[in-house]
Symmetry: C2
Subunit: 342 residues, 2 copies
């Protein structure tokens, strides 16, 4: 069972090598939302996303034998680059199983950090089927994208930093894919709330809210029904939240510490990306803009000062351009509701 | 004659209301350039550009009578918004003479800060002809975009902040339009170099470099010949540097304190904007990316750690999209060399 201590230990572990990312604010945003909004800029984290916190925290705790055998994971997104960089920093060989049609930029970035990329065709096989023989042959340690205690503890360090950077914040909102960021941060947020030195405003009850795209609303459905729901390859532009379901470790954390999960439309996600570009000069990927989308669209109306995690900035130039010039196509008509996981 | 004291006084004046902008760094950039590079993020300044430093410093020093008469200026760019915001903060009425075909977003932003915008057709009249009767009627004080001591002193505060944020930097590079930023920063950089508390690395000689687009190379020509040259409406994408000539105040400052002015191609400016987007998650306007363009293209090869001013982030979404997706058209064939000002 993950505890606050795991997260504070993780923070000590990552502090020497990762970025203590800044918090940005905007008078315009505060006025529109009606309360102070603190944006935690994980787009300025190494590899351009919070994911490296969890990856580094996990790899740094491997024993000498495990390090020798190397690390294996599957991801087409930020977790791939995160594992690759963590491996390079710790001198551990890494192998990433990645769909063969993943964006070229992601593959090259991952290889650029020194990882071996093993492509596979998702129509012909699964990532697990590709990963298994590699694991058996090399003995490599599997470090999954979110359902892993050390990964979750690493992601929770985001909330610890916000506590110091925005001591007046009462609420915390993060995007939710597999729930590593939301679960880790929710635990940290709730359990540091009455910490010594807490400001008087903290008399208010702390609130944690998760956000996901309406097109990928498995987490909300799971949260509301108490049963993990699953969704296959949801057609949202927020590619970081296309994970099929919450994890066996992240779901109970979310059930215990999260107050609500809200959803936002594709259009509101694009609007938020554009707002962050125009008004704040920040490059944020669609998944990273979910919290701002929830505030600007009214999907969540905070009762007090709120911190929002901008989870990453890795968006390819063509997609970003299509959001800015309005040519991006939304695929709302392809929505498939989530179903209970069997 | 402007002195370091004017700049330190300006800093005290602006500190309570403007942003002390951050410095960002990138391992990739350091490796490519071969020395540490410190990027001063004026895209995160209020109104999205350094211009508000000079505007506020000028308006804050107006006497009660002048404040009552209001302030007048001409600009289609960041100076317009800067004067408008400074006016709002100081409760001074502002009027901006602006070409009627200025981007709608700029006009709305300027009006949003409470300024009155007076459009004119540059094919039929000049901004001076439009401004003169307004000044005569209202008695409004003209605060020009760069050739004004208080404006120059305000822009120089950028260099003072960098001194503290990047104490190891030996060189400083800024974009050059009318020379307010370059001149003010050059003076501050040179005259604080041997300040008490300077680090040992400062035994090296300080260097200041200006950058402008090759398509708008009037400053370089002026600098090299000792005679102010002029260029009319140069066809560069770096619209902040389309000013026709250096000023009577900025030119001598630049002659005295600047070591070199280098130029960069349109393609290298676009490449720099894209680099800042992809690798650093920063929204920077083309003029603001000139320094990074000079470093990545080799137009300037620094001998030691260098600070580079990212002067602003106000670029309209369509232009930014066209840079990202490569559809932007460069107008190199329309280049007209600068001629001596008569």
């Amino acid at each position: 069972m993950i505890t606050l201590r795991d997260i504070t230990e993780a923070r000590k572990r990552i502090a020497p090598v990762l970025n203590d990312t800044p918090v940005h604010t905007s008078r315009t945003l505060d006025e529109r939302v009606g309360v102070p909004v603190y944006l935690k800029c994980e787009n300025f984290q190494r590899v351009g996303a919070f994911k490296v916190r969890g990856a580094y925290n996990a790899l740094a705790q491997l024993g000498p034998d495990e390090r020798k055998r190397g690390v294996l994971t599957y991801s087409s997104g930020n977790h791939a680059q995160a594992i690759a960089l963590a491996g390079r920093l710790l001198d551990i060989e890494t192998t990433i199983v990645m769909p063969h049609d993943a964006p070229d930029s992601k593959r090259r970035a991952t290889e650029g950090y020194g990882a071996r990329v093993v492509p596979f065709d998702p129509r012909q096989t699964t990532r697990e089927e590709v990963a298994r023989p590699i694991a058996e042959e090399t003995g490599a340690v599997l470090v999954p994208p979110f359902d892993h205690e050390h990964v979750i503890a690493g992601q929770g360090t985001v909330a610890l930093e916000i506590r110091e950077q925005a001591p007046l914040a009462v609420e915390l909102m993060t995007p939710c894919g597999g729930g590593g960021l939301l679960g880790g941060c929710a635990l940290a947020w709730k359990e540091t709330y009455d910490a010594p030195g807490a400001t008087p405003s903290r008399a208010a009850r702390p609130v944690v809210v998760g956000v996901e795209p309406a097109l990928a609303d498995d987490a909300r459905r799971s949260f509301e029904t108490g049963v993990i729901h699953t969704i296959r390859n949801p057609p949202t532009i927020a590619d970081g939240t296309r994970t099929p379901f919450l994890g066996d470790l992240t779901f109970p954390l979310i059930q215990k510490h999260v107050d609500a999960i809200v959803t936002v439309s594709e259009q509101s996600i694009a609007d938020a990306v554009r707002f962050l570009f125009e008004r704040m000069k920040l490059v944020v990927e669609p998944s990273g803009a979910l919290g701002v989308a929830a505030l600007l669209s009214g999907a969540h109306e905070p009762a007090g000062p709120i911190a929002v995690v901008l989870s990453g900035g890795n968006v390819d130039p063509a997609t970003f351009a299509s959001i800015l010039d309005g040519t991006i196509r939304f695929r709302d008509s392809e929505y498939q509701p989530p179903v209970p996981r069997v």
